[in-house]
């Protein structure tokens, strides 16, 4: 060591110091995750608490969500070019123009607007719980639907209104070097029974994929919100991914929880 030239000595010193820093980082990190045993469950590592009752705050697309649906052929020009802003293709427009809620009722398909691609857009409340430590359960009072967000390999065959949802935590480190994680819940849903993107019969197909990010926002005002960013990809009916964001406000309890059956009109 004594024979090393000063410049090299400095380099060596810094190198060792750096090594030690990383070693210490590794050691500290192991304090949390280095123990033997099964990996922690999704519930255990959840970066946010989504459980509880949430009420939809209906602001975006207000008139389309709150009012009884109108066939797009009767929609006055100016309502998003007659398609309400949804980037549908000609085939979808044809299907939507033929929408008849009476037919849906007769076919027992009143829930076509309550599928995974639109259910979070319905005015109502949701109740979120952990069904088990691998599965989040989201229930809606509007249409009394249940969605299961399973972490890990997809489960179920799908083919129903809510399809198959695969969940994951989309996280980033909170503090330097692995502090508390924060981030969103990512849910990818497919294998859906064909349904409606809006209550007026604008369709999505069985090939649609719904990708959602759930972010919890705690405001200085004391209010807590769940913001859901949704992308619907549907090669059959959409010319581009359909993007919306929807938000719910946290409730202290189940006030207002009012399960109602699906309604086609």
């Amino acid at each position: 060591m004594i024979s090393i030239k000063p410049a090299t000595k400095t380099a060596s010193f810094l190198f060792k110091g750096t090594l030690l820093v990383f070693a210490s980082a590794s050691l500290f990190a192991q304090g949390r995750a280095g123990r033997a045993g099964p990996p922690p469950s999704p519930q255990a590592i959840a970066p946010m608490d989504m459980t509880g009752y949430w009420v939809a705050v209906v602001v975006e697309d207000w008139r389309y969500r709150m009012l009884p649906p109108i066939n797009i052929t009767k929609v006055v020009a100016g309502r998003g070019g007659g398609q309400l802003g949804v980037p549908i293709n000609a085939e979808a427009r044809k299907v939507a123009a033929a929408w008849d809620p009476a037919k849906d009722e007769a076919a027992g398909e009143q829930c076509r607007s309550y599928g995974a691609a639109n259910i979070m857009r319905m005015p109502g409340r949701v109740h979120i719980t952990w069904q088990d430590d691998q599965t989040l359960k989201l229930e809606t009072d509007a249409g009394t639907q249940t969605r299961l967000f399973h972490f890990g390999a997809p489960q179920g065959q799908g083919g129903d209104w809510q399809g198959v949802s695969q969940a994951s935590w989309d996280t980033i480190p909170g503090g330097r070097g692995g502090g508390q994680m924060s981030g969103a819940l990512k849910v990818v849903t497919n294998k859906l029974k064909p349904g409606y993107l809006l209550r007026n019969g604008i369709p999505y197909s069985a090939n649609a994929t719904v990708t959602e990010y759930y972010d919890r926002i705690d405001e200085p005002s004391g209010n807590t919100y769940l913001v859901i960013t949704t992308t619907v990809d549907d090669p059959m009916y959409l010319t581009q991914p359909y993007l919306t964001a929807t938000h719910f406000k946290k409730q202290a309890d189940a006030s207002g929880w009012n399960p109602t059956p699906c309604a086609a009109r």
Partner: protein, 627 residues
């Protein structure tokens, strides 16, 4: 020794690394993600609701209270042709609804690389916005407001949380639905890949009865857009319209009340907004338009017999026993804390002071001025006779000096016992006011050392002082018959006195010669002297008689308010209403939550009575100077 030193340093480094890595840092310490770059409006929701869009009387989903709804119902789109409206900027969250481009970039400390601020630029209205990330406090309540407001932020993981205060009045939808200048906006910017989800929560005690929340999706621009500018210059749009005319719809007479409702088959109740319209339960009410029609029509006019509303915000006029100094611009400062606002201009000569406050904290006012200049106060101008502006006359004058008249012929005038003035000439600051102020204060037996001896009669008084022109303009029959506004022409600051009051309706002191006609004329005269710097922000700064520092846009809004209320009361008089009926009609209901008062020296009822009386009589009482 070397080994020891090396070992010591290594231990230190390890120790430090443990400190850095081992804190189990809470989420708020996250450094966040990088959102730098350009973004544009995306998503498919709210088609047709971009900025400057929105049909009249389409407020569904906006949690407006009675005042907010009535403000919007009175809003005529032609109001945007007024000069102060043509280039008005966009506030958040409205700016996010625009179809233009946005750019974010970071400002980092060059030595520590700590994040100091995130800057933002909106193409639409060219809003330059800074989100301070260094933990600095927000400005005091008496500081000026801007369209961008004052924002502080912090990262919570992938979410940038922003709190914005000091906003101006702005739209939340392009149809008059508005947030007030007392709104606070909490925003969250969430990045998921090449998409940003924006979530805004606007809390407005003036015009909302619940938080207004809304989301917007932005998409990352892969190629830098070429469109970044938003050229706007105001001009003459309605040539024949009188300056005093502010377009409005009288409540109950909106010609387009049902246009949107009928066109889109929306029950009228659903178009009128309110917190309940955001709730799922509201769907049930929308099923039967006929059943809700009566309730809807009741919402289109002020609720009769409802308790009078008032502004709860008092922070802009602190009452903490201290004098607070706010730099305005150039040589001018604003002092708050002793009743009315005090303007102080400093330079190589003695201080030039406009108004002296209520006189309860005069020693502290003097001490504050001494921190701004070592020179004594030389001139004091009173904008009116009102005690909130003249209360400190004697003490501040005594604490000053006017060397410009020492040794002049004034020094040889008859003594105070004869004239009331000219004692120890130049040994105190010279008090200046319009002549009626002097006469009225003398009539009221005010102590001689409080009465301005140096007066002028009409038009304009002017001085070159502290390196700039100082204009004093007489505004006859506005708040009183002796109002003066003071324009520091180099600093580009105007002190208005009670003609412009950001806390209250204008103090139209009818008994002292004030009138609403003169008030509107004075406000228009003020607007003739102002120039905005950029899109109705900054430029000429205005120190109101009370309340926060303002600029042309604030003044323009105030002028609109006074003109609108006067027109309503005039229409009521025309229809035969007496004063009690006018008061019962609550013709100020849209502004009461911002400027109203139910107690104190200047209540809403007093204001309405002053407007009614001056319109009804259509004469001004004879000023003492004319006797």
């Amino acid at each position: 020794m070397r080994t020891l030193t090396t070992g010591y340093l290594l231990i230190l480094i390890v120790s430090m690394s443990a400190k850095v890595f081992g804190q189990g840092a809470p989420v708020v310490e996250g450094t966040g993600v990088d959102i730098s770059g350009s973004w544009s409006h995306g998503g498919h929701q709210d088609a047709g609701y971009q900025t400057a869009a929105g049909a009249l009387v389409d407020y569904g989903g906006i949690p407006m209270n009675e005042a907010g709804r009535l403000y919007a119902l009175a809003w005529d789109a032609s109001r945007q042709t007024l000069r102060t409206e043509q280039c008005a900027g966009y506030t958040v969250p409205y700016a996010f609804y625009s179809p233009g481009n946005y750019r974010y970039w970071e400002e980092r400390d060059p030595y520590t690389q700590q994040l100091v601020a995130i800057h933002m630029y909106f193409q639409t209205s060219e809003v330059n916005r800074t989100i301070w990330m260094d933990g600095r406090p927000h400005p005091p309540a008496w500081a000026a407001h801007t369209f961008a407001g004052f924002s502080t932020g912090q990262w919570k993981g992938n979410v940038l949380n922003i709190t914005t205060t000091h906003l101006k009045h702005g739209y939340v939808r392009g149809n008059g639905a508005s947030q007030s200048d007392e709104a606070i906006v909490n925003e969250s910017v969430i990045r998921h890949g090449d998409r940003l989800t924006y979530f805004g929560e606007t809390i407005d005690p003036v015009w909302f009865d619940g938080p207004f929340t809304k989301t917007v999706i932005n998409l990352r621009n892969v190629i830098d857009p070429t469109a970044w500018l938003y050229a706007c210059e105001d001009g003459e749009e309605i040539l024949a319209r009188a300056e005093t005319k502010v377009p409005q719809y009288l409540w109950g007479q909106h010609p387009y009340l049902r246009e949107y409702a009928d066109k889109y088959k929306v029950p009228l109740l659903g178009t009128l907004g309110g917190a309940e319209t955001t709730q799922p339960e509201f769907m049930a009410k929308l099923k039967d338009a006929a059943a809700t029609n009566a309730a809807a029509m009741a919402e289109t006019v002020p609720v009769k017999g409802a308790p009078q509303q008032y502004n709860h915000e008092t922070g802009a006029e602190p009452n903490d026993g201290e004098i607070h100094i706010l730099p305005v611009q150039g040589n001018v400062y604003m002092l708050v804390g002793d009743g009315g606002n005090i303007a102080v201009q400093v330079g190589e000569e003695g201080a030039f002071v406009v108004d002296t406050g209520a006189g309860k904290l005069s020693d502290k006012v003097l001490a504050a001025i001494r921190t701004l200049t070592p020179r004594p106060i030389q001139f004091i101008v009173n904008t009116s006779l009102h005690s909130a502006h003249t209360g400190g006359n004697a003490r501040l004058s005594a604490g000053g000096k006017d060397p410009s008249i020492q040794g002049s012929f004034f020094a040889g005038q008859a003594p105070r016992e004869v004239t009331g003035f000219f004692v120890n000439v130049g040994e105190s600051a010279t008090l200046i006011a319009q002549n009626n102020v002097m006469i009225r204060m003398q009539d009221a037996k005010a102590p001689a050392d409080m009465v301005p001896p140096d007066t002028y009669l009409s038009g304009r008084r002017r001085k070159w002082h502290n390196g700039e022109g100082v204009d004093m303009f007489y505004e006859p029959y506005a708040s009183t018959d002796g109002d003066t506004i003071v324009h520091f022409r180099g600093s580009e600051v105007i002190a208005t006195g009670d003609i412009f009051d950001m806390l209250h309706y204008p103090f139209i002191d009818f008994k002292s010669g004030g009138s609403v006609q003169g008030e509107i004329e004075a406000l228009n005269n003020l607007l003739d002297k102002t120039v905005y710097k950029h899109d109705e922000d900054g430029g000429t700064m205005i120190i109101p008689g009370h309340g926060r520092l303002s600029d042309e846009y604030d003044l323009g809004e105030y002028r609109q308010m006074v003109s609108i209320i006067a027109d309503r009361i005039q229409a009521a008089i025309k229809s035969g209403a007496n004063l009690d009926q006018v008061k019962a009609a609550r013709l100020t209901a849209d502004y009461d939550t911002r400027f109203g008062a139910v107690s104190g020296p200047w209540t809403t009822d007093m204001f309405v009575e002053a407007v009614y009386t001056s319109l009804k009589q259509n004469t001004r009482i004879q000023s003492p100077g004319a006797r």
